[in-house]
Protein backbone atom coordinates (compact mmCIF):
# COMPACT_ATOMS: atom_id res chain seq x y z
CA UNK A 1 0.00 0.00 0.00
CA UNK A 2 1.32 3.47 -0.93
CA UNK A 3 1.91 5.80 1.98
CA UNK A 4 0.82 9.41 1.88
CA UNK A 5 3.86 11.70 1.80
CA UNK A 6 5.24 12.69 5.17
CA UNK A 7 4.02 16.12 6.24
CA UNK A 8 3.02 17.92 9.44
CA UNK A 9 -0.67 17.52 8.50
CA UNK A 10 -0.14 13.82 7.90
CA UNK A 11 1.52 13.46 11.30
CA UNK A 12 -1.42 15.19 13.02
CA UNK A 13 -3.83 12.97 11.14
CA UNK A 14 -1.92 9.81 12.18
CA UNK A 15 -1.99 10.97 15.78
CA UNK A 16 -5.74 11.53 15.80
CA UNK A 17 -6.63 8.39 13.86
CA UNK A 18 -4.50 5.90 15.81
CA UNK A 19 -6.76 4.17 18.30
CA UNK A 20 -4.00 2.58 20.36
CA UNK A 21 -0.33 3.36 21.03
CA UNK A 22 0.64 0.18 19.12
CA UNK A 23 -1.32 1.38 16.12
CA UNK A 24 0.42 4.73 16.33
CA UNK A 25 3.80 3.03 16.53
CA UNK A 26 3.02 0.71 13.59
CA UNK A 27 1.87 3.55 11.36
CA UNK A 28 4.81 5.79 12.21
CA UNK A 29 7.30 2.98 11.73
CA UNK A 30 6.17 2.71 8.11
CA UNK A 31 7.31 6.30 7.60
CA UNK A 32 10.82 5.81 8.92
CA UNK A 33 12.13 4.90 5.47
CA UNK A 34 10.65 8.11 4.02
CA UNK A 35 12.15 10.13 6.85
CA UNK A 36 15.54 8.58 6.27
CA UNK A 37 15.42 9.48 2.58
CA UNK A 38 14.28 12.99 3.41
CA UNK A 39 17.15 13.40 5.86
CA UNK A 40 19.55 12.01 3.30
CA UNK A 41 18.54 14.72 0.86
CA UNK A 42 18.74 17.47 3.54
CA UNK A 43 14.96 17.83 3.53
CA UNK A 44 12.68 19.82 5.88
CA UNK A 45 14.50 19.74 9.25
CA UNK A 46 11.46 20.85 11.25
CA UNK A 47 9.29 18.12 9.78
CA UNK A 48 11.98 15.54 10.40
CA UNK A 49 12.52 16.50 14.01
CA UNK A 50 8.76 16.44 14.55
CA UNK A 51 8.45 13.01 12.94
CA UNK A 52 11.28 11.55 15.00
CA UNK A 53 9.93 13.02 18.23
CA UNK A 54 6.44 11.60 17.47
CA UNK A 55 8.00 8.26 16.73
CA UNK A 56 10.11 8.47 19.88
CA UNK A 57 7.06 9.04 22.10
CA UNK A 58 5.21 6.19 20.41
CA UNK A 59 8.07 3.92 21.56
CA UNK A 60 7.70 5.17 25.14
CA UNK A 61 3.95 4.53 25.06
CA UNK A 62 4.47 0.87 24.18
CA UNK A 63 7.36 0.44 26.62
CA UNK A 64 9.93 -0.21 23.92
CA UNK A 65 12.75 1.54 25.73
CA UNK A 66 15.59 -0.43 24.14
CA UNK A 67 14.20 0.26 20.71
CA UNK A 68 13.70 3.95 21.60
CA UNK A 69 17.36 4.03 22.56
CA UNK A 70 18.25 2.54 19.22
CA UNK A 71 16.01 5.05 17.44
CA UNK A 72 18.04 7.87 18.96
CA UNK A 73 21.09 6.24 17.36
CA UNK A 74 19.35 5.73 14.02
CA UNK A 75 18.36 9.37 13.69
CA UNK A 76 20.89 11.01 11.35
CA UNK A 77 23.50 12.64 13.58
CA UNK A 78 23.62 15.88 11.59
CA UNK A 79 19.93 16.29 12.42
CA UNK A 80 20.40 15.69 16.15
CA UNK A 81 23.43 17.95 16.53
CA UNK A 82 21.56 21.22 16.11
CA UNK A 83 18.14 20.13 17.25
CA UNK A 84 17.10 20.81 20.83
CA UNK A 85 13.84 18.83 20.49
CA UNK A 86 15.64 15.60 19.61
CA UNK A 87 18.25 16.25 22.27
CA UNK A 88 15.47 16.71 24.83
CA UNK A 89 14.01 13.36 23.76
CA UNK A 90 17.35 11.71 24.55
CA UNK A 91 17.50 13.42 27.96
CA UNK A 92 13.97 12.24 28.74
CA UNK A 93 14.81 8.70 27.65
CA UNK A 94 17.78 8.64 30.02
CA UNK A 95 15.51 9.57 32.92
CA UNK A 96 12.92 6.93 31.97
CA UNK A 97 15.64 4.32 31.47
CA UNK A 98 17.11 5.08 34.92
CA UNK A 99 13.64 5.12 36.47
CA UNK A 100 14.31 8.54 37.84
CA UNK A 101 10.65 9.44 38.40
CA UNK A 102 11.32 12.95 39.64
CA UNK A 103 13.30 13.82 36.49
CA UNK A 104 10.78 12.20 34.15
CA UNK A 105 7.96 14.43 35.45
CA UNK A 106 10.19 17.49 35.47
CA UNK A 107 11.29 16.99 31.87
CA UNK A 108 7.79 16.20 30.65
CA UNK A 109 6.38 19.30 32.32
CA UNK A 110 9.16 21.84 31.94
CA UNK A 111 10.88 21.13 28.64
CA UNK A 112 9.74 23.24 25.70
CA UNK A 113 7.85 20.63 23.66
CA UNK A 114 6.39 21.96 20.38
CA UNK A 115 2.62 22.37 20.17
CA UNK A 116 1.87 19.47 17.79
CA UNK A 117 3.72 17.15 20.18
CA UNK A 118 1.91 18.33 23.32
CA UNK A 119 -0.93 15.73 23.13
CA UNK A 120 1.62 12.92 23.03
CA UNK A 121 3.64 14.39 25.89
CA UNK A 122 0.51 14.66 28.03
CA UNK A 123 -0.58 11.17 27.04
CA UNK A 124 2.77 9.77 28.07
CA UNK A 125 2.68 11.59 31.42
CA UNK A 126 -0.70 10.01 32.22
CA UNK A 127 0.55 6.61 31.05
CA UNK A 128 3.73 6.89 33.12
CA UNK A 129 1.76 7.97 36.19
CA UNK A 130 -0.69 5.06 35.88
CA UNK A 131 2.06 2.55 35.28
CA UNK A 132 3.98 3.81 38.31
CA UNK A 133 0.83 3.61 40.43
CA UNK A 134 0.32 -0.02 39.38
CA UNK A 135 3.94 -0.88 40.15
CA UNK A 136 3.91 1.00 43.44
CA UNK A 137 0.76 -0.80 44.56
CA UNK A 138 2.61 -4.13 44.26
CA UNK A 139 5.87 -2.86 45.75
CA UNK A 140 4.76 -1.34 49.05
CA UNK A 141 2.56 -2.82 51.73
CA UNK A 142 2.65 0.46 53.63
CA UNK A 143 3.97 3.75 52.31
CA UNK A 144 4.24 7.32 53.54
CA UNK A 145 2.12 9.70 51.45
CA UNK A 146 5.09 11.93 50.61
CA UNK A 147 7.01 8.98 49.14
CA UNK A 148 3.99 7.84 47.11
CA UNK A 149 3.42 11.41 45.93
CA UNK A 150 7.01 11.78 44.75
CA UNK A 151 6.68 8.66 42.61
CA UNK A 152 3.59 10.09 40.96
CA UNK A 153 4.98 13.55 40.40
CA UNK A 154 2.68 15.12 43.01
CA UNK A 155 3.70 17.69 45.62
CA UNK A 156 5.52 15.74 48.35
CA UNK A 157 5.44 18.55 50.92
CA UNK A 158 1.67 18.91 50.62
CA UNK A 159 1.21 15.15 50.77
CA UNK A 160 3.29 15.00 53.96
CA UNK A 161 0.88 17.45 55.59
CA UNK A 162 -1.97 15.03 54.79
CA UNK A 163 -3.57 17.04 51.99
CA UNK A 164 -6.99 15.39 51.45
CA UNK A 165 -6.95 15.97 47.68
CA UNK A 166 -3.71 14.06 47.28
CA UNK A 167 -4.81 11.31 49.65
CA UNK A 168 -8.05 10.96 47.74
CA UNK A 169 -6.09 10.23 44.55
CA UNK A 170 -4.79 7.10 46.29
CA UNK A 171 -7.93 6.09 48.17
CA UNK A 172 -9.84 6.29 44.87
CA UNK A 173 -7.66 3.43 43.66
CA UNK A 174 -8.63 1.28 46.63
CA UNK A 175 -5.66 2.21 48.86
CA UNK A 176 -6.43 2.62 52.57
CA UNK A 177 -5.37 5.62 54.61
CA UNK A 178 -4.33 5.02 58.22
CA UNK A 179 -4.60 8.50 59.73
CA UNK A 180 -3.08 7.45 63.05
CA UNK A 181 0.04 5.84 61.59
CA UNK A 182 0.03 8.38 58.72
CA UNK A 183 0.55 5.59 56.26
CA UNK A 184 -1.14 4.52 53.04
CA UNK A 185 -1.81 0.81 52.54
CA UNK A 186 -1.77 0.10 48.80
CA UNK A 187 -4.09 -2.39 47.18
CA UNK A 188 -2.49 -4.13 44.18
CA UNK A 189 -3.92 -2.72 40.97
CA UNK A 190 -4.34 -5.08 38.04
CA UNK A 191 -2.76 -3.84 34.80
CA UNK A 192 -5.38 -2.02 32.74
CA UNK A 193 -4.42 -4.00 29.64
CA UNK A 194 -4.78 -7.45 31.25
CA UNK A 195 -6.06 -10.29 29.05
CA UNK A 196 -9.61 -11.56 29.29
CA UNK A 197 -10.00 -14.15 32.05
CA UNK A 198 -12.38 -16.36 30.08
CA UNK A 199 -9.89 -16.59 27.24
CA UNK A 200 -7.19 -17.48 29.74
CA UNK A 201 -9.18 -20.35 31.21
CA UNK A 202 -9.91 -21.62 27.69
CA UNK A 203 -6.24 -21.24 26.82
CA UNK A 204 -5.17 -23.09 29.95
CA UNK A 205 -7.47 -25.96 29.06
CA UNK A 206 -5.76 -26.19 25.69
CA UNK A 207 -2.33 -26.20 27.37
CA UNK A 208 -3.41 -29.15 29.50
CA UNK A 209 -4.70 -31.01 26.42
CA UNK A 210 -1.40 -30.40 24.63
CA UNK A 211 0.59 -31.58 27.62
CA UNK A 212 -1.59 -34.69 27.80
CA UNK A 213 -0.93 -35.37 24.11
CA UNK A 214 2.82 -35.29 24.41
Amino acid sequence: MDLAPLSQEQLSSILTSAATPSELYDTLSQYEGQALLLADSNGDQELLSLFYSFFFFSHLLIEELSEARMLTKRIPQNLVENNSLLQNCTILLRAVWQRSHEHVYRYLREMPWPEPLEPLVQRYEVYFQNKTLEELSCTYEAIRPETAASYLGLDSATAQQGNPDILQKFTNCGWKWDGEAKLLHPKPIAPAHGPDDRNQVKGLREVMVLLGKS
Binding site: T132, C138, E141, I143, G194
Partner: protein, 388 residues
Amino acid sequence: MGFDPVQVRYAGSEWRELVELPFLAIQPIREAIFRLDPSCSLFTSSHLLLVKLCLHARAYRHALPILNKPICHFPAGPEQNQLENQQPTLRTRHESSAQVVRNSSGLSAKVTYREHLEYFLNGAMIYMVVKQWKKALHFLTIVISSPVINSVSMVMVEAYKKWILVSLLDNGKLVQTPAAISSHTIKIYRSITKPYVTLAGAFESGDFSRLEAEVEIARPIWHTDGNTGLVLQVVRAFEKFRYHKLGKTFAALTVSDAVKQAPSRSGRFTNTEQFIATLIMSKAVNATLSHPNDLQKSTMLRFSNLGSSASALKDSLMQSQLVEGSWSLASLMGHVEEGDYVLGMSKEYVENLQRNQKQPGGPLKGGKNVGSFSGGFDIEEDIMGDLC
Protein backbone atom coordinates in the same frame (compact mmCIF):
# COMPACT_ATOMS: atom_id res chain seq x y z
CA MET B 1 7.88 10.42 -9.07
CA GLY B 2 9.56 9.21 -12.29
CA PHE B 3 12.99 7.65 -12.47
CA ASP B 4 15.35 8.82 -15.17
CA PRO B 5 18.23 6.35 -15.72
CA VAL B 6 20.25 8.97 -17.60
CA GLN B 7 19.92 11.69 -14.97
CA VAL B 8 20.90 9.36 -12.16
CA ARG B 9 24.34 8.99 -13.79
CA TYR B 10 25.03 12.58 -12.68
CA ALA B 11 24.36 11.74 -9.07
CA GLY B 12 26.47 8.61 -8.63
CA SER B 13 27.44 8.97 -4.97
CA GLU B 14 23.90 10.00 -3.96
CA TRP B 15 22.55 6.96 -5.82
CA ARG B 16 24.97 4.60 -4.06
CA GLU B 17 24.19 6.20 -0.69
CA LEU B 18 20.51 5.51 -1.29
CA VAL B 19 21.00 1.94 -2.42
CA GLU B 20 23.29 1.20 0.48
CA LEU B 21 20.88 2.42 3.17
CA PRO B 22 20.32 -0.93 4.89
CA PHE B 23 17.18 0.23 6.67
CA LEU B 24 15.23 0.57 3.43
CA ALA B 25 15.76 -3.08 2.56
CA ILE B 26 14.51 -4.47 5.86
CA GLN B 27 10.76 -4.12 5.42
CA PRO B 28 10.56 -5.59 1.87
CA ILE B 29 12.74 -8.57 2.84
CA ARG B 30 10.69 -9.24 5.95
CA GLU B 31 7.47 -9.07 3.93
CA ALA B 32 8.97 -11.40 1.33
CA ILE B 33 9.85 -13.98 3.99
CA PHE B 34 6.34 -13.85 5.44
CA ARG B 35 4.69 -14.08 2.02
CA LEU B 36 6.70 -17.12 1.02
CA ASP B 37 6.16 -18.89 4.33
CA PRO B 38 3.63 -17.32 6.72
CA SER B 39 4.62 -19.73 9.49
CA CYS B 40 8.26 -18.69 9.01
CA SER B 41 9.32 -22.14 10.12
CA LEU B 42 11.54 -22.75 7.12
CA PHE B 43 15.06 -21.35 7.30
CA THR B 44 16.09 -19.58 4.10
CA SER B 45 19.06 -17.49 3.06
CA SER B 46 16.79 -14.43 3.37
CA HIS B 47 16.54 -15.01 7.15
CA LEU B 48 20.25 -14.40 7.64
CA LEU B 49 20.21 -11.44 5.29
CA LEU B 50 17.37 -9.82 7.23
CA VAL B 51 18.98 -10.34 10.62
CA LYS B 52 22.30 -8.94 9.40
CA LEU B 53 20.58 -5.90 7.91
CA CYS B 54 18.67 -5.27 11.14
CA LEU B 55 21.92 -5.40 13.10
CA HIS B 56 23.62 -3.11 10.62
CA ALA B 57 20.75 -0.59 10.55
CA ARG B 58 20.17 -0.86 14.33
CA ALA B 59 16.54 -1.66 13.63
CA TYR B 60 16.32 -4.58 16.01
CA ARG B 61 12.59 -4.68 16.59
CA HIS B 62 12.01 -5.31 12.89
CA ALA B 63 13.70 -8.70 13.16
CA LEU B 64 11.68 -9.92 16.14
CA PRO B 65 8.59 -11.18 14.24
CA ILE B 66 10.91 -13.50 12.29
CA LEU B 67 13.18 -14.43 15.18
CA ASN B 68 10.23 -15.28 17.42
CA LYS B 69 9.08 -18.00 14.99
CA PRO B 70 10.79 -21.32 15.67
CA ILE B 71 12.81 -22.72 12.79
CA CYS B 72 11.65 -26.27 12.10
CA HIS B 73 12.80 -26.98 8.54
CA PHE B 74 15.70 -26.38 6.20
CA PRO B 75 15.41 -26.31 2.43
CA ALA B 76 15.69 -29.90 1.22
CA GLY B 77 18.97 -30.60 -0.56
CA PRO B 78 19.72 -33.20 -3.23
CA GLU B 79 20.92 -35.60 -0.53
CA GLN B 80 17.30 -36.01 0.56
CA ASN B 81 16.58 -38.38 -2.30
CA GLN B 82 13.23 -39.51 -1.04
CA LEU B 83 11.88 -35.98 -1.11
CA GLU B 84 13.57 -35.13 -4.40
CA ASN B 85 11.76 -38.02 -6.02
CA GLN B 86 8.47 -36.61 -4.85
CA GLN B 87 8.59 -33.38 -6.81
CA PRO B 88 6.03 -30.96 -5.36
CA THR B 89 3.34 -29.52 -7.54
CA LEU B 90 4.03 -25.80 -7.41
CA ARG B 91 0.52 -24.75 -8.30
CA THR B 92 -1.16 -26.63 -5.44
CA ARG B 93 -1.43 -25.42 -1.87
CA HIS B 94 0.88 -27.07 0.63
CA GLU B 95 0.55 -27.14 4.40
CA SER B 96 4.16 -26.07 4.78
CA SER B 97 6.55 -24.20 2.53
CA ALA B 98 9.18 -26.79 3.41
CA GLN B 99 7.59 -29.00 0.77
CA VAL B 100 8.11 -26.40 -1.94
CA VAL B 101 11.27 -24.50 -0.99
CA ARG B 102 14.25 -26.63 -1.87
CA ASN B 103 17.77 -25.79 -2.85
CA SER B 104 16.80 -26.53 -6.43
CA SER B 105 13.72 -24.27 -6.33
CA GLY B 106 15.78 -21.06 -6.29
CA LEU B 107 13.56 -19.56 -3.58
CA SER B 108 16.47 -19.75 -1.18
CA ALA B 109 20.20 -19.77 -1.86
CA LYS B 110 21.99 -22.85 -0.61
CA VAL B 111 22.23 -22.53 3.16
CA THR B 112 25.50 -23.62 4.72
CA TYR B 113 26.13 -24.95 8.21
CA ARG B 114 28.07 -21.79 9.08
CA GLU B 115 25.21 -19.55 7.91
CA HIS B 116 22.78 -21.41 10.10
CA LEU B 117 25.09 -20.80 13.09
CA GLU B 118 25.48 -17.15 12.12
CA TYR B 119 21.72 -16.68 12.01
CA PHE B 120 21.30 -17.88 15.57
CA LEU B 121 24.32 -15.90 16.82
CA ASN B 122 23.09 -12.70 15.15
CA GLY B 123 19.56 -13.40 16.37
CA ALA B 124 20.88 -13.78 19.91
CA MET B 125 22.63 -10.43 19.57
CA ILE B 126 19.33 -8.79 18.65
CA TYR B 127 17.64 -10.36 21.66
CA MET B 128 20.50 -9.07 23.81
CA VAL B 129 19.96 -5.52 22.60
CA VAL B 130 16.27 -5.68 23.46
CA LYS B 131 17.21 -7.39 26.73
CA GLN B 132 15.24 -10.56 26.15
CA TRP B 133 17.90 -12.59 27.91
CA LYS B 134 16.08 -15.94 27.95
CA LYS B 135 15.56 -15.93 24.22
CA ALA B 136 19.14 -14.80 23.65
CA LEU B 137 20.36 -17.65 25.83
CA HIS B 138 18.21 -20.11 23.88
CA PHE B 139 19.65 -18.96 20.55
CA LEU B 140 23.21 -19.09 21.89
CA THR B 141 22.57 -22.58 23.27
CA ILE B 142 21.57 -23.70 19.76
CA VAL B 143 24.90 -22.41 18.42
CA ILE B 144 27.17 -23.83 21.10
CA SER B 145 25.46 -27.22 21.13
CA SER B 146 25.52 -27.68 17.36
CA PRO B 147 27.25 -30.90 16.30
CA VAL B 148 31.00 -30.72 15.68
CA ILE B 149 33.47 -33.23 14.28
CA ASN B 150 36.90 -32.34 15.64
CA SER B 151 36.99 -28.77 16.82
CA VAL B 152 34.63 -25.88 17.35
CA SER B 153 34.29 -23.02 14.88
CA MET B 154 34.96 -19.34 15.59
CA VAL B 155 31.23 -18.61 15.45
CA MET B 156 30.67 -21.17 18.19
CA VAL B 157 33.46 -19.73 20.34
CA GLU B 158 31.98 -16.24 19.96
CA ALA B 159 28.62 -17.66 20.95
CA TYR B 160 30.11 -19.39 24.00
CA LYS B 161 31.65 -16.13 25.23
CA LYS B 162 28.30 -14.40 24.92
CA TRP B 163 26.54 -17.42 26.41
CA ILE B 164 28.60 -17.01 29.63
CA LEU B 165 27.75 -13.31 29.90
CA VAL B 166 24.06 -13.70 29.08
CA SER B 167 23.82 -16.59 31.50
CA LEU B 168 25.09 -14.29 34.28
CA LEU B 169 22.74 -11.50 33.24
CA ASP B 170 19.70 -13.75 33.15
CA ASN B 171 20.33 -16.01 36.12
CA GLY B 172 23.07 -14.38 38.19
CA LYS B 173 25.16 -17.55 37.69
CA LEU B 174 26.44 -19.82 34.97
CA VAL B 175 23.66 -22.15 33.91
CA GLN B 176 24.33 -25.81 33.31
CA THR B 177 26.01 -26.46 29.97
CA PRO B 178 23.55 -28.14 27.57
CA ALA B 179 23.68 -31.93 27.80
CA ALA B 180 24.12 -32.18 24.03
CA ILE B 181 27.66 -30.76 24.27
CA SER B 182 30.33 -33.41 24.81
CA SER B 183 32.77 -32.98 27.69
CA HIS B 184 35.61 -32.75 25.17
CA THR B 185 33.92 -29.81 23.42
CA ILE B 186 33.26 -28.09 26.76
CA LYS B 187 36.98 -28.41 27.57
CA ILE B 188 37.85 -26.75 24.26
CA TYR B 189 35.37 -23.92 24.91
CA ARG B 190 36.67 -23.33 28.40
CA SER B 191 40.31 -23.29 27.37
CA ILE B 192 39.64 -20.73 24.63
CA THR B 193 37.41 -18.47 26.73
CA LYS B 194 39.37 -18.40 30.00
CA PRO B 195 38.91 -14.67 30.80
CA TYR B 196 35.12 -15.12 30.54
CA VAL B 197 35.14 -18.22 32.73
CA THR B 198 37.24 -16.36 35.32
CA LEU B 199 34.86 -13.39 35.17
CA ALA B 200 31.90 -15.70 35.79
CA GLY B 201 33.75 -17.21 38.76
CA ALA B 202 34.33 -13.74 40.22
CA PHE B 203 30.66 -12.85 39.72
CA GLU B 204 29.44 -16.02 41.40
CA SER B 205 31.85 -15.58 44.33
CA GLY B 206 29.97 -12.42 45.35
CA ASP B 207 33.25 -10.51 45.69
CA PHE B 208 32.71 -7.19 43.94
CA SER B 209 36.34 -6.06 44.11
CA ARG B 210 37.44 -9.34 42.49
CA LEU B 211 34.85 -8.83 39.78
CA GLU B 212 36.05 -5.27 39.19
CA ALA B 213 39.65 -6.45 39.01
CA GLU B 214 38.80 -9.16 36.45
CA VAL B 215 36.90 -6.64 34.34
CA GLU B 216 39.83 -4.24 34.43
CA ILE B 217 42.52 -6.85 33.65
CA ALA B 218 40.79 -8.20 30.58
CA ARG B 219 39.48 -4.87 29.26
CA PRO B 220 41.38 -5.17 25.93
CA ILE B 221 39.89 -8.66 25.44
CA TRP B 222 36.31 -7.46 25.95
CA HIS B 223 37.03 -4.65 23.54
CA THR B 224 38.52 -6.91 20.86
CA ASP B 225 35.63 -9.36 21.20
CA GLY B 226 33.04 -6.56 21.02
CA ASN B 227 31.67 -7.59 24.41
CA THR B 228 32.48 -4.50 26.50
CA GLY B 229 28.84 -3.45 26.68
CA LEU B 230 27.73 -6.86 27.90
CA VAL B 231 30.52 -7.04 30.50
CA LEU B 232 29.53 -3.61 31.88
CA GLN B 233 25.94 -4.81 32.13
CA VAL B 234 27.18 -7.84 34.07
CA VAL B 235 28.88 -5.49 36.54
CA ARG B 236 25.67 -3.48 36.92
CA ALA B 237 23.63 -6.66 37.42
CA PHE B 238 25.87 -7.67 40.32
CA GLU B 239 23.95 -5.55 42.87
CA LYS B 240 20.62 -6.90 41.68
CA PHE B 241 21.63 -10.50 42.18
CA ARG B 242 23.01 -9.74 45.66
CA TYR B 243 19.47 -8.90 46.71
CA HIS B 244 18.27 -12.04 44.97
CA LYS B 245 20.64 -14.11 47.09
CA LEU B 246 19.57 -12.24 50.20
CA GLY B 247 16.00 -13.33 49.54
CA LYS B 248 17.10 -16.95 49.64
CA THR B 249 18.49 -16.52 53.16
CA PHE B 250 16.06 -14.12 54.81
CA ALA B 251 12.27 -13.95 54.81
CA ALA B 252 12.28 -10.35 56.03
CA LEU B 253 14.79 -7.78 57.24
CA THR B 254 15.07 -4.03 57.52
CA VAL B 255 16.58 -2.06 54.65
CA SER B 256 19.48 -0.96 56.89
CA ASP B 257 20.20 -4.63 57.71
CA ALA B 258 19.98 -5.47 54.02
CA VAL B 259 22.63 -2.82 53.33
CA LYS B 260 24.85 -4.42 55.99
CA GLN B 261 24.33 -7.87 54.47
CA ALA B 262 24.81 -6.72 50.88
CA PRO B 263 26.80 -3.49 51.01
CA SER B 264 26.88 -1.54 47.79
CA ARG B 265 30.52 -1.65 46.75
CA SER B 266 30.00 0.25 43.56
CA GLY B 267 28.80 3.31 45.47
CA ARG B 268 26.31 4.04 42.74
CA PHE B 269 23.26 4.09 44.97
CA THR B 270 22.87 6.78 47.57
CA ASN B 271 19.28 5.90 48.41
CA THR B 272 19.14 2.15 49.04
CA GLU B 273 15.39 2.03 49.60
CA GLN B 274 14.81 3.68 46.24
CA PHE B 275 17.16 1.22 44.59
CA ILE B 276 15.37 -1.77 46.17
CA ALA B 277 12.00 -0.29 45.21
CA THR B 278 13.24 0.01 41.60
CA LEU B 279 14.27 -3.65 41.64
CA ILE B 280 10.85 -4.69 42.92
CA MET B 281 8.97 -2.41 40.53
CA SER B 282 10.87 -3.80 37.56
CA LYS B 283 10.05 -7.33 38.83
CA ALA B 284 13.75 -8.13 39.22
CA VAL B 285 13.26 -9.01 42.90
CA ASN B 286 10.22 -10.70 44.40
CA ALA B 287 9.59 -8.76 47.59
CA THR B 288 7.64 -5.92 49.17
CA LEU B 289 8.59 -2.87 51.21
CA SER B 290 6.78 -1.55 54.23
CA HIS B 291 7.26 1.83 55.88
CA PRO B 292 7.09 1.74 59.72
CA ASN B 293 4.96 4.12 61.82
CA ASP B 294 8.06 5.49 63.45
CA LEU B 295 10.11 7.74 61.17
CA GLN B 296 13.30 6.76 63.04
CA LYS B 297 12.90 3.08 62.17
CA SER B 298 14.11 1.55 58.93
CA THR B 299 11.80 0.32 56.16
CA MET B 300 11.00 -3.40 56.26
CA LEU B 301 11.88 -5.58 53.26
CA ARG B 302 9.91 -8.83 52.90
CA PHE B 303 10.98 -11.48 50.39
CA SER B 304 8.92 -14.24 48.73
CA ASN B 305 5.59 -12.62 49.31
CA LEU B 306 3.64 -15.74 48.43
CA GLY B 307 0.11 -15.43 49.64
CA SER B 308 0.18 -11.66 49.54
CA SER B 309 -2.42 -9.84 47.53
CA ALA B 310 0.16 -9.05 44.86
CA SER B 311 0.61 -12.74 44.14
CA ALA B 312 -2.79 -12.80 42.46
CA LEU B 313 -1.40 -10.42 39.87
CA LYS B 314 1.65 -12.62 39.41
CA ASP B 315 -0.65 -15.62 38.89
CA SER B 316 -2.49 -13.67 36.25
CA LEU B 317 0.80 -12.81 34.53
CA MET B 318 1.86 -16.45 34.62
CA GLN B 319 -1.52 -17.48 33.26
CA SER B 320 -1.16 -15.20 30.26
CA GLN B 321 2.39 -16.50 29.71
CA LEU B 322 1.04 -20.06 29.78
CA VAL B 323 -1.63 -19.20 27.25
CA GLU B 324 0.96 -17.55 25.01
CA GLY B 325 3.15 -20.62 25.39
CA SER B 326 0.27 -22.89 24.45
CA TRP B 327 -0.10 -21.22 21.05
CA SER B 328 3.61 -21.63 20.32
CA LEU B 329 3.44 -25.22 21.53
CA ALA B 330 0.46 -26.00 19.28
CA SER B 331 2.24 -24.53 16.27
CA LEU B 332 5.44 -26.36 17.14
CA MET B 333 3.60 -29.68 17.49
CA GLY B 334 2.26 -29.34 13.96
CA HIS B 335 5.80 -28.91 12.67
CA VAL B 336 7.10 -31.78 14.78
CA GLU B 337 4.41 -34.07 13.34
CA GLU B 338 5.37 -32.94 9.86
CA GLY B 339 9.06 -33.55 10.51
CA ASP B 340 8.15 -36.85 12.04
CA TYR B 341 6.31 -37.85 8.89
CA VAL B 342 9.21 -36.82 6.63
CA LEU B 343 11.65 -38.72 8.83
CA GLY B 344 9.39 -41.77 8.72
CA MET B 345 9.40 -41.66 4.92
CA SER B 346 13.16 -41.31 4.61
CA LYS B 347 15.28 -44.03 3.04
CA GLU B 348 17.49 -44.34 6.15
CA TYR B 349 14.53 -44.90 8.42
CA VAL B 350 12.91 -47.47 6.15
CA GLU B 351 16.20 -49.36 5.88
CA ASN B 352 16.63 -49.30 9.62
CA LEU B 353 13.08 -50.51 10.06
CA GLN B 354 13.65 -53.38 7.63
CA ARG B 355 16.84 -54.39 9.45
CA ASN B 356 14.99 -54.42 12.75
CA GLN B 357 12.12 -56.45 11.34
CA LYS B 358 14.54 -59.16 10.32
CA GLN B 359 15.93 -59.32 13.85
CA PRO B 360 13.96 -61.23 16.50
CA GLY B 361 12.36 -59.09 19.21
CA GLY B 362 10.07 -56.63 17.52
CA PRO B 363 9.98 -54.38 14.51
CA LEU B 364 11.34 -51.25 16.20
CA LYS B 365 14.00 -52.70 18.45
CA GLY B 366 16.96 -50.37 18.63
CA GLY B 367 15.21 -47.72 16.56
CA LYS B 368 13.03 -44.78 17.54
CA ASN B 369 9.30 -45.08 17.24
CA VAL B 370 9.07 -42.09 14.97
CA GLY B 371 5.53 -42.48 13.80
CA SER B 372 3.88 -42.88 17.19
CA PHE B 373 4.45 -39.27 18.31
CA SER B 374 1.94 -37.72 16.05
CA GLY B 375 -1.16 -38.43 18.12
CA GLY B 376 -2.57 -41.56 16.50
CA PHE B 377 -0.38 -41.60 13.40
CA ASP B 378 1.26 -45.04 13.43
CA ILE B 379 3.25 -46.46 10.57
CA GLU B 380 1.89 -49.86 9.60
CA GLU B 381 4.28 -52.63 8.70
CA ASP B 382 2.58 -53.55 5.41
CA ILE B 383 2.64 -49.93 4.16
CA MET B 384 6.37 -49.77 4.77
CA GLY B 385 6.77 -53.07 2.98
CA ASP B 386 4.98 -51.74 -0.09
CA LEU B 387 7.18 -48.67 -0.27
CA CYS B 388 10.35 -50.71 -0.48
